[in-house]
Symmetry: C2
Amino acid sequence: MDEFAAMSGISRPTLSKYFNDPTSVRSSTRQRIESALADVDYRPNMYAINQNRRMTNNIGIVVPYLADPFFAEIARVMEQHVIDAGFRPVLLGSHGLPSQEIENLDNLRLVKPAGVLLAPLGRTSELDRIADFCADVPTVFFDANIEPLGEAFSGSDNMQSIGLIVDYLCRTGEPPVFFEMKTPSNPNAYKRRNAYVAAMERLGQEPHLVQVEGEGWDFENIGFTGAQAVLSSRGLPSNTLLCSNDRLAIGLLAAAYQLGFRVGQGEGCALRVAGHDDHPFSRYTCPALTTVSQDYSAIATRAAEVLFGIIESGHRPDQKLESHFEGRLIMRGSA
Amino acid sequence: MDEFAAMSGISRPTLSKYFNDPTSVRSSTRQRIESALADVDYRPNMYAINQNRRMTNNIGIVVPYLADPFFAEIARVMEQHVIDAGFRPVLLGSHGLPSQEIENLDNLRLVKPAGVLLAPLGRTSELDRIADFCADVPTVFFDANIEPLGEAFSGSDNMQSIGLIVDYLCRTGEPPVFFEMKTPSNPNAYKRRNAYVAAMERLGQEPHLVQVEGEGWDFENIGFTGAQAVLSSRGLPSNTLLCSNDRLAIGLLAAAYQLGFRVGQGEGCALRVAGHDDHPFSRYTCPALTTVSQDYSAIATRAAEVLFGIIESGHRPDQKLESHFEGRLIMRGSA
DNA sequence: TAAAAAAATTAACGCGCGTAAAAAATAAAT
DNA sequence: ATTTATTTTTTACGCGCGTTAATTTTTTTA
């Protein structure tokens, strides 16, 4: 930067101001800088900047599992919002590991972010460590909430969305059984289970839970092997299965196909299967998966909006703001 | 670090040595440091370290598209190898954008990596910028090669793997038509096309290419819409389709299902479909996808091995080392 | 055109660490 | 108990930038 200052004839503090915010210098000097920039390709070192600024324009985005297309997609949407607002996204995935989640937060600290958007692992998260982090850095949760922590939450209204699909399934056929993991990794699983039970009771139906074994984030495989056992035992009280999420449903559909169960609403179908999330791949299952979509865009927009508001105003809200967005029924072939 | 030096009674340069390599200090001092570390949780600032060390133990990993489970998976394997070798992985995805790929390399420069493992976008990559980077940082390519660049390449032997599945398909039924994108994003697509043509000619069969429209990385959708057109026109010279990659096949299978084509090898099946890659989801298609696997682990191991060798020896090889690993036939239901 | 306001420059310090050289302390070898 | 080899400490500088305060220059306003 010293060299560039020498060759451009602009003092280093002015350059520093310019790179922080180009509009903060007189337009004539800005032009001088930009024409010098056209000759040599100088770019300030991001890490040296991070080290010195009290606060940067970095915004951390942390998701539980980047290899899950659902999180990859919502992270992508988040990133775009952050860029559009003039901030710099720093995307990190936790590989489903609580230790990695803490590691990510520790690494984020070093970047001195203006704020972070955090989709926590949930059940397995190390709450006290996350609480420490939230005390230092403005944090907005999305996808999954950790009740007392953070400035805000933006996510789906599981009660509404599960209610929606339960209503639909009951209206158009046998009431659904709920297909889920016994000890779910997914943080929304318990809410969905409760929402299912509530919806069934509201409709005067008896809820049934089918809980399959399995650990980790390989949901398709867990759904597949779980479904093999459940379907071949033929002990199901209903021909309709509502899965806690689409990835379980994808595994279930594969098992059903291999066992010769015909899935769908029409005549001659032995099974109806529905999911939740509108996972990027749910369009391509056979039959295509009936599910309820999460409003990715609204969730991302609200989370980003709230965080930007906090950053610009400079002080945190007294009360945690919670936004729950409704899901939409996506009717396809499977139910 | 100064504070920690004061409280632990160890001088800062010694601490600096310790954090760089714990075995480089006398074991008695190491114990003193570690017991002090147990009291206060001090950790050196990674970015300050990167700024000052001539070279770090960071290793960059760049893939074309992190939201593609195939790359997410191979990146995960790479990361693990890097960690096991005592280095620190820095994972970056290019979102399918050449500009992002360059941006990633520019950002990596700031971290002063000991080396980088690069899966390039291929066709659309900005070659001269990548060449600049390779001149400065030891780079090993994987998945896709850029002929004259980098110290080494580790990837699949497309000629062998496509040959394998073409052989299989010809042996067990009608010779396959090759289903691909007209202007593929995937860097291996051209090699696979050529391998298909070569394999067919070797077997005395006439090659047929079905090239569908579409840009970008939403391969399932491109396969789906392309297949709808192709299948309903019924102008196929064969009942067997070999897809350039599994994601196209996933879209194709969904289209076939919706149009009522029965896919598989048995009696009453109208279509056979095969893919390439053994994509994480290919087990869960209906029917499960017959494909040829890439040896993720071997590819990752070799790429990492070669890079570590270069880093440790301190000088680059005179000649580029190219490793091509054979694929394995994964026989499932679809062909 | 002089005074006031805004912007840029100079000079100097700080961030959190790496690193080099010389001096001092400790351990190993004789 | 010496000598020698190995570690550690002291001292000081550097990395690439942010930031502040005092000063000078430029622009705006009256």
